[in-house]
């Protein structure tokens, strides 16, 4: 199983936007390889052909290098194509076209040294207010105890459960230092900046459990800031939600 997901090149892609990225990366590498090999063949040819043993007298006049000019122009045009044709559409889709909150599953993720706090809104679908002064080891999110919207909210640590084939809108924050939410199978990296709430979204296309990593050095536990992304079917996801809500919600105060 593991072998199929991860390998020596791009891992399995389970996101809707990842296909274009993979395409871009692959096209780009073919281009790079072609350029490098072509250039390298010329270079090695020169090294062998014009070694002092074979060519005791050098030519003073420069060679006419029309081809190199064409190659350079081609590189420019190709880079422009990559930028405008492949990179920018993905980015604007990823950045600008956030899904409407009504159709997306909204989840808050709050990074801290060295864990991912995941905040679900509970049965009412409304997130309770969070503020740093309420943070305790028992209230890791810092939910305001006086906010009724937060009563049925629940959190999980390092476990992000999402339904498959639905837009997931994540609002990412950090409690302390800069972290970076990275899921290779989703082709996704997003820094978590303290003092900012950054929205981003994705849509998972396959079910399964995958690693979430921190990509920005955040201290001694950086390497162990590992989360688990659980992509579930809608039914499984709902069952999981219900289980959490039941456990959390009996209206009383808990320690």
């Amino acid at each position: 199983m593991q072998q199929e997901v991860y390998g020596y090149w791009l891992p399995l892609n389970v996101s809707a936007h990842g296909e274009v990225i993979d395409q871009l990366i692959n096209v780009l590498h073919v281009f790079m390889l072609a350029l490098f090999v072509g250039w390298g063949v010329f270079f090695i040819h020169c090294l062998i052909r014009y070694r002092s043993g074979a060519n005791p007298t050098a030519t003073y006049d420069p060679i006419k290098a029309k081809l190199s000019k064409y190659v350079e122009i081609f590189v420019v045009v190709f880079e422009a194509f990559l930028l405008v044709g492949l990179s920018m559409p993905v980015w604007s889709q990823f950045k600008a076209d956030l899904p409407a909150e009504s159709e997306a599953v909204e989840i808050h993720v709050m990074a801290e040294q060295f864990a991912w706090n995941v905040h679900y809104p509970g049965a009412d679908g409304v997130f309770g207010r969070k503020a740093p002064q309420f943070v305790t080891p028992e209230n890791l999110l810092g939910l305001d105890p006086d906010d009724t919207n937060g009563k049925d909210d629940f959190n999980s640590i390092n476990n992000l459960h999402v339904p498959v084939n639905r837009p997931i809108l994540i609002r990412l924050t950090s409690k302390d230092v800069i972290h970076s939410f990275k899921v290779p199978v989703l082709r996704l990296t997003q820094d978590a900046i303290p003092g900012q709430e950054i929205p981003f979204w994705f849509e998972a296309t396959k079910t399964g459990g995958f690693d979430i990593a921190c990509a920005q050095l955040c201290g001694l536990g950086h390497y162990r800031m590992r989360g688990q992304l659980n992509i579930q079917t809608q039914a499984d996801f709902e069952a999981w939600l219900a289980e959490q809500v039941e456990e959390e919600d009996d209206g009383g105060f808990a320690f």
């Binding site: 640590i157 476990n159 808990a254 320690f255």
Partner: protein, 241 residues
Amino acid sequence: MIKQTIRVLGALGLGLALVSDVVAGGGIAGTVTFTDGPQKRRTLKLAADPVCASKHTEAVKSEALLVGEGNAMQNVFVYVSKGLEGKTFDVPAEPAVLDQQGCLYAPRVMGVMAGQKIKILNNDGTLHNVHPKPKINKEFNLAMPKFMKVKEVSLDKPEVMIPVKCDVHPWMSGHIGVLTHPYHSVTGSVGTYNLADLPAGSYTLTAWHEVFGSKSQDVTVSDGGSVTADFAFALADLKKK
């Protein structure tokens, strides 16, 4: 020369006096209760680290407030907060032990003497980092990767209480009280504490709980006598804190 002799004799006398004080002292004992009875406890999200989850067979609940039979309140730190100023006591050679078991601190609340060695254990086979957040003592942040099973540290200045956290497992929360004397105790599952061999005198005794804060009462200990001092916490204390 004579002066020196007098000084030495004086010092010896003082030492004797101190020793005899201790020998002839009394004790304080008591029970701490939580009048509102056991409360609902949150389930800890041990699934955050599969290693932690694998150490437990059933769901683990928060240990922030443990109330046992007869409302006995566990993990209350009871110590002499006033009355021992100026006296010095030997630091125990034995290290105090703070274990990390199944991604929980054992004990959750502990007292040590300033300068006493604290032996921190990690047999969990996962990364813990021991990160106390003192106000007076020097802060340290110690990573204990799975290969590091033991580490010794010490806290040099009196400070009640120092929160201890593991940043990798945010639910892990402990507290260490550092004192200049050995008269401190932490209530167990039956809610009792016992401070023995206390020199005769008047003291302020303080009970501290991580959620409900501190409560104090004055006690007088006479030679050979034993005093009872009980404490009671209630939900109402939460508001006051």
